[in-house]
C-alpha cells in the first residue's frame, strides 16, 4: 500500500503543500474513498518518520436519505403546492398524492394553500399565492454543496428535527512532513529467500518491519487429556517412591474381594443397591479361593484372630454377587493375598490408579465413575507415624506441605485418618485424602504374619484435579475437549 499510487500522490502533494494537508480533502480532490487515503497514510506511517499524521475529528453536516430526495425533488409542501391547479383540487385527491399527507399541513401553515370546506363535491384546496420559494430545498442544496455553514444555527436544527439533516463525526488525518520525508519510497521486502542468500542481495534490500505483537502460527499438534496428565504425574510420584504398580485391569469384581475380604460386613449400607452397581450378567463369581473364604466367613460371623467379629450369619451367596468395583482396595486385597502366599514374607509397596464405580445420580460434583489413587505399604512394625511420614513425602511431591490429620472411620482400617491440607486459593483446610492401617481381621485370614502392618491411603484423581484447577464442574472433564 505504501508503494501504491495514492501514497505516491500524497507524498507529492505533501511536498508541495505548505504545512500539511487534510486526508478528507485529498480524498475529495482525488475522487477516491476516504478510507483509501487513510490506508495510504497508515502504511506510510509504518515505514518510519516519513510522515507525521495527526488524528482530527471534525463535524460535518450531511443530508439524510430523505433530505437528499427533497434536495432533488423539492420539499413535500412545495410539491403539494405545485400539484394544485388554478381551479383547485379535491382534498381527498390531494391526500392521495405521494407527498400529500406530509406536505399538506406544512403548506397550510405556510399559507400557501387554503381549503374551501363548503365546496360542492367535498373540501377543495386552492392556491393562496401564485408562486412559492422552496426555502427548504434551497437550504438542503446548500448543505449538499458543502456550504452548511451558510445556514443559521436555528435553521440547521429545524432541518435536523425534520430528519433531513444529520451531524456526522468525521475522523480525518492532518498529514505533515516527517523528519525523514522523501517523495520516493523504495519497495520493501517481506522475507529472506534462498536467492537472496546465494546472491547476497539481502545486503542491499530494505526489509519490512515485523509486527511482534501479532500471534504466531500454532503448531498442528495433538493433546493429552488434562485429567490423564495428572494421572501420569501421580504414577511418576509413586514410582519415584519405590511403589510397584498393581494390576487393576478388572472393573468387574466379586462382593467377596470388594467387601468381605476387607472385613466389611454383609449388612453394611454400602453394599446396598443404592450405592453399588450389581451385575445381572454375569451375576455371580464362580471361582473363589475356598479355604480363604472359610477363614473370612469365620472371622465375620464368630470372630477370631483376637477379634469379637460381627456375630451375624455370613452367606456365601452374598459374597458371590458380582459388581462394578466401588474402590481399587479390592485390587489391593488381591495383591496382599498374593503377597501372603509367598514365604518368607518380603516387604512390599504397591500403588494403583484406576477407575471405580458408584451408583450415584450425576450432578456437577458427583460422577458414577471416577479414578481412585491408592498406595499401600506392607512391612514389619509399621506405625501410624510411618503412615503420616509417607503421606508427607507423597504430598510434598505435589507441592502440598502443610498437612493435618483428623480421626475418621473406614470399615477396613483402624486407626483411620482423614488428611487435610491448607489450600491457598480457597483459604481453608480441604480434605486431600483418606488413610489408615488395615484391620487385623482383614490381614490375618490372608495369611500375613502377625507383626506385619499394612498402611494405606487413597484419594480421588478427579478431586485432586479439581483442587488444583479450581474448576467447578467435574463432569465437563468427561465430555469436553479441552485443548
Amino acid at each position: 500500500m505504501a508503494d501504491g499510487p495514492v501514497a505516491e500522490v500524497l507524498l507529492q502533494r505533501l511536498e508541495a503543500a505548505d504545512g500539511g494537508l487534510d486526508s478528507a480533502e485529498l480524498a475529495a480532490e482525488l475522487g477516491v474513498e476516504h478510507q483509501t487515503v487513510v490506508g495510504a497514510v497508515k502504511s506510510l506511517q509504518a515505514l518510519g518518520e516519513i510522515i507525521e499524521a495527526e488524528l482530527r475529528s471534525t463535524k460535518r453536516w450531511e443530508l439524510t436519505a430523505e433530505g437528499e430526495e427533497i434536495a432533488r425533488e423539492g420539499s413535500h409542501e412545495a410539491r403539494v403546492f405545485r400539484s394544485v391547479p388554478p381551479e383547485g383540487l379535491p382534498q381527498s385527491e390531494l391526500m392521495r398524492l405521494p407527498s400529500g399527507k406530509v406536505g399538506f399541513s406544512k403548506a397550510m401553515s405556510n399559507k400557501w394553500i387554503r381549503v374551501d370546506k363548503s365546496a360542492a363535491d367535498g373540501p377543495r384546496v386552492f392556491r393562496v399565492v401564485d408562486s412559492v420559494e422552496d426555502e427548504v430545498q434551497r437550504r438542503l442544496q446548500l448543505v449538499q454543496g458543502g456550504q452548511a455553514e451558510k445556514l443559521g444555527e436555528k435553521e440547521r436544527s429545524e432541518l435536523r428535527k425534520r430528519k433531513l439533516l444529520t451531524e456526522v463525526n468525521l475522523k480525518t488525518y492532518w498529514v505533515s512532513k516527517g523528519s525523514a520525508f522523501s517523495t520516493s519510497i523504495s519497495k520493501q521486502e517481506t522475507e529472506l529467500s534462498p536467492e537472496m542468500i546465494s546472491s547476497g542481495s539481502w545486503r542491499d534490500r530494505p526489509f519490512k518491519p515485523y509486527n511482534f505483537s501479532a500471534h504466531g502460527v500454532l503448531p498442528d499438534s495433538g493433546h493429552l487429556h488434562p485429567l490423564l496428565k495428572v494421572r501420569t504425574q501421580f504414577r511418576q510420584i509413586f514410582l519415584e517412591m519405590g511403589f510397584t504398580e498393581m494390576p487393576t485391569d478388572n472393573y468387574i469384581e466379586s462382593s467377596f474381594w470388594n467387601f468381605d475380604a476387607l472385613f466389611q460386613p454383609q449388612q453394611h449400607p454400602a453394599r446396598d443397591q443404592h450405592d453399588t452397581f450389581f451385575l445381572r450378567d454375569p451375576a455371580q463369581a464362580q471361582q473363589l479361593p475356598m479355604d480363604y473364604v472359610h477363614r473370612v466367613k469365620r472371622t465375620h460371623s464368630q470372630g477370631g484372630y483376637g477379634s469379637q467379629g460381627y456375630k451375624y450369619n455370613w452367606k456365601l451367596d452374598e459374597a458371590r454377587k458380582n459388581l462394578l468395583r466401588t474402590h481399587t482396595t479390592s485390587a489391593s486385597a488381591r495383591a496382599l493375598y498374593r503377597l501372603a502366599q509367598k514365604k518368607p514374607f518380603t516387604a512390599a509397596k504397591y500403588f494403583s490408579i484406576d477407575r471405580v464405580f458408584r451408583n450415584e445420580t450425576l450432578d456437577a460434583t458427583h460422577l458414577a465413575e471416577f479414578h481412585q489413587i491408592e498406595g499401600v505399604v506392607a512391612d514389619h512394625g509399621l506405625t501410624l507415624g510411618h503412615l503420616m511420614g509417607v503421606l508427607r513425602e507423597f504430598f510434598s511431591k505435589l507441592g502440598i506441605t502443610q498437612l493435618r490429620f483428623k480421626p475418621t472411620y473406614n470399615p477396613y482400617t483402624e486407626p483411620s485418618m482423614e488428611v487435610f491440607s491448607y489450600h491457598q486459593g480457597l483459604k481453608k483446610w480441604v480434605e486431600v485424602g483418606n488413610s489408615g492401617i488395615f484391620r487385623p481381621e482383614m490381614l490375618l485370614p490372608m495369611g500375613l504374619p502377625e507383626n506385619v502392618s499394612v498402611i494405606a491411603w487413597g484419594l480421588s484423581l478427579e478431586r485432586e484435579h479439581l483442587l488444583c484447577t479450581e474448576s467447578c464442574a467435574v463432569i465437563m472433564t468427561y465430555t469436553s475437549l479441552l485443548p
Partner: protein
C-alpha cells in the same frame, strides 16, 4: 456406671409369638423409669433413634426402634405377626384408624416413610405389637401407634427393638438406654424388661454388658509410633471413656469396655482411641525403612508410551465413560446386544448405565457430538479398558486394553487412519507383511462400516481389530453429520 435394675413392682414382659419367625424374629425391650425431658432432650431422643435407624439399623431393615409412653399402656405386651387386613389402629400423628393395607398406600407418598415400606410390604404377615388391652404400640418397622406417643411430659418409657439381627438389636437397645438413662431420676439406671421367646426361653434386657480387655502398653506404643508410659496410656484411654488401669507386671493395661462401645471388637479399636486421645497431629512423622524397587504394570507402561506417541501424531486424547446404554454398543452399531458378550448391570439409575462398554468407539463418537463447534478435522483417540464376559475368569468377565482413534472431517480420511495404524505398528516394532511377527490388513466387512471400506488387522498371528470408514447409519445414529473413519485394536498382544 450403667446399671440394670429390677423394678419395684411387676417386671414388664414382651411375649414373642412364633408368627414373627418368618418376617422379623427378634425383639428386645427395656424401661426408662422417671425420666425428665426438656424440649432439647426430647428432640435429641427422637434424633438419636433416626440416626441409629440410618446407620447401624441399616435403614430399619436390621433393627427398628419403638419408644412408647408406658403410662398410656398396660403390659404384658405381645409381639406377633398378622395379616395386613387384620391390623387396624390409629398411627402416629393421624386422626383416625386405618388398616395396615390402607397405611401402606398412604405412606407411599410420604417422603420419610416410603423408604421402609418394602421391608414388609409383600409379606403375608406384618409384624405388630399389642398391649394387654389390644392397643397397638407399633407396626415395625414402619410406624408407631398414636396412643403411646411420647411427649416432653412423658415420665416412663417402654422401648422395644425388633429386627432380623439379634446382635444389632441388643446393641441398639443398649445405646439408647445408656444415652438417656442420664435423665432418669435414678441416674444411669435402666429398668429391666423380660422377653419371652416362642420356644419359652426367657431373656432379661438390656444386657448392658461390660467386659474387660487386656492390651500390652508396648503394643500400643509400637502400633502408633509413640513412647508413652503405661500409666499415661491408661490415662489417655480413660479420657476416651474406656476406664483403664495398669496391672500385672506394669506392662499390661486392663480396659473396661462399656456397653456404649459396641464398636470395640479388636485391640486395634482400643489402639485407635489411644492415638486419638494422644492427638494424631502430635505423633512424630517418620519414614519406613522399607526398601523396594518399583515396577510398572507392563500394560500401563505400554499405554503411557502409546499415549504420548498418539498425541505426537496429532490426535487429541479423550476420556469417556466405561458405562453406557445398550443402544450405544449394539443397535447404534448395527449389532444385536446378545452378540456383544457385554456385561449387563442389574440396577442402573438411568439408561446411561445399562452395560459396560465392549468398544471404545461409542464414547469417542459421543465426544465428537458434544463438541460440534470445534473446528474440523476432529482427530480423537482413547487408550482404555473395555469389558467382555469370559467364563474362564473367576468373576466371569475380564477387561481388554483397547486403543481407538477416529477421524471426523468433510472427507472420511481412511488413509489418515490407515497411516496412523502404520505409525503405531512402527512404534511397536511390528513390521509390515505376513511374515512371523508382522502385520497385515485384509478386506473385511462389518455392520458398523461402509461396505468395501473396512479391513481387519492381523498382527503377530492374531486378529487385533478393524479399521474403516463408518457406515452412514452409525454416523446419523450418533447424531453426527460428517464422514468418519476409525480404527480400534486390542493392544495386549504387544506386551
Amino acid at each position: 456406671m450403667y446399671k440394670r435394675v429390677m423394678p419395684n413392682g411387676e417386671i414388664q414382659k414382651l411375649i414373642i409369638t412364633e408368627e414373627t419367625a418368618k418376617i422379623r424374629p427378634y425383639a428386645v425391650a427395656a424401661v426408662l423409669r422417671n425420666i425428665k425431658f426438656t424440649k432439647d432432650r426430647y428432640e435429641s431422643f427422637i434424633e438419636l433413634q433416626e440416626k441409629l435407624h440410618q446407620n447401624i439399623c441399616r435403614k430399619r431393615a436390621l433393627v427398628a426402634i419403638g419408644t412408647h409412653d408406658l403410662d398410656t399402656l398396660s403390659g404384658p405386651f405381645t409381639y406377633t405377626a398378622k395379616k395386613p387386613s387384620d391390623i387396624k389402629f390409629k398411627p402416629l400423628n393421624k386422626t383416625k384408624e386405618y388398616t395396615a393395607c390402607e397405611l401402606m398406600n398412604i405412606y407411599k407418598t410420604d417422603n420419610h416413610l416410603k423408604h421402609y415400606l418394602h421391608i414388609i410390604e409383600n409379606k403375608p404377615l406384618y409384624p405388630v405389637i399389642y398391649d394387654s388391652n389390644g392397643v397397638v404400640l407399633s407396626m415395625p418397622p414402619v410406624i408407631n401407634g398414636h396412643h403411646s406417643k411420647i411427649t416432653v411430659n412423658t415420665r416412663n418409657i417402654f422401648i422395644e427393638c425388633t429386627g432380623t439381627d439379634f446382635t444389632k438389636a441388643k446393641i441398639v437397645l443398649d445405646i439408647i438406654v445408656t444415652t438417656f438413662s442420664e435423665y432418669c431420676e435414678n441416674q444411669f439406671t435402666v429398668e429391666a424388661a423380660e422377653v419371652v421367646f416362642p420356644n419359652g426361653k426367657l431373656h432379661t434386657f438390656p444386657e448392658l454388658a461390660y467386659r474387660k480387655e487386656m492390651v500390652r502398653a508396648d503394643l500400643i506404643n509400637k502400633k502408633v509410633g509413640i513412647r508413652e508410659t503405661p500409666e499415661n496410656l491408661a490415662k489417655l484411654l480413660t479420657r476416651m471413656c474406656l476406664k483403664s488401669e495398669v496391672i500385672g507386671d506394669g506392662n499390661q493395661i486392663e480396659i473396661e469396655i462399656p456397653p456404649t462401645r459396641a464398636d470395640i471388637i479388636h485391640a486395634c479399636d482400643i489402639i485407635e482411641d489411644a492415638a486419638i486421645a494422644y492427638g494424631y497431629n502430635n505423633i512424630q512423622m517418620t519414614l519406613p525403612k522399607t526398601y523396594t524397587i518399583a515396577n510398572q504394570f507392563p500394560l500401563n507402561k505400554l499405554t503411557e508410551l502409546l499415549r504420548h506417541d498418539m498425541a505426537a501424531a496429532g490426535f487429541t486424547e479423550a476420556l469417556t465413560f466405561a458405562l453406557c446404554s445398550q443402544e450405544d454398543i449394539a443397535d447404534k452399531l448395527g449389532l444385536d446386544i446378545s452378540a456383544t458378550k457385554a456385561v449387563l448391570i442389574s440396577n442402573p439409575k438411568t439408561a446411561e448405565f445399562q452395560v459396560a462398554r465392549t468398544t471404545l468407539l461409542p464414547g469417542l463418537l459421543k465426544t465428537i457430538a458434544a463438541n460440534r463447534k470445534m473446528p474440523l478435522p476432529l482427530k480423537l483417540f482413547e487408550i482404555s479398558d473395555i469389558v467382555i464376559k469370559d467364563s474362564s475368569r473367576d468373576v466371569g468377565a475380564r477387561n481388554y486394553r483397547h486403543l481407538c482413534a477416529v477421524y471426523y472431517n468433510k472427507n472420511p480420511g481412511f488413509e489418515i487412519i490407515h497411516g496412523l495404524l502404520d505409525r503405531l505398528m512402527q512404534l511397536l516394532d511390528v513390521p509390515p507383511g505376513e511374515k512371523k511377527g508382522g502385520y497385515v490388513i485384509k478386506a473385511s466387512e462389518g455392520p458398523a462400516f461402509f461396505p468395501g471400506r473396512c479391513a481387519e488387522i492381523f498382527a503377530r498371528g492374531q486378529s487385533i481389530g478393524k479399521l474403516g470408514v463408518l457406515h452412514p447409519d452409525v454416523i446419523t445414529k450418533f447424531e453426527l453429520t460428517m464422514p468418519c473413519s476409525c480404527v480400534e485394536i486390542n493392544i495386549e498382544p504387544f506386551l
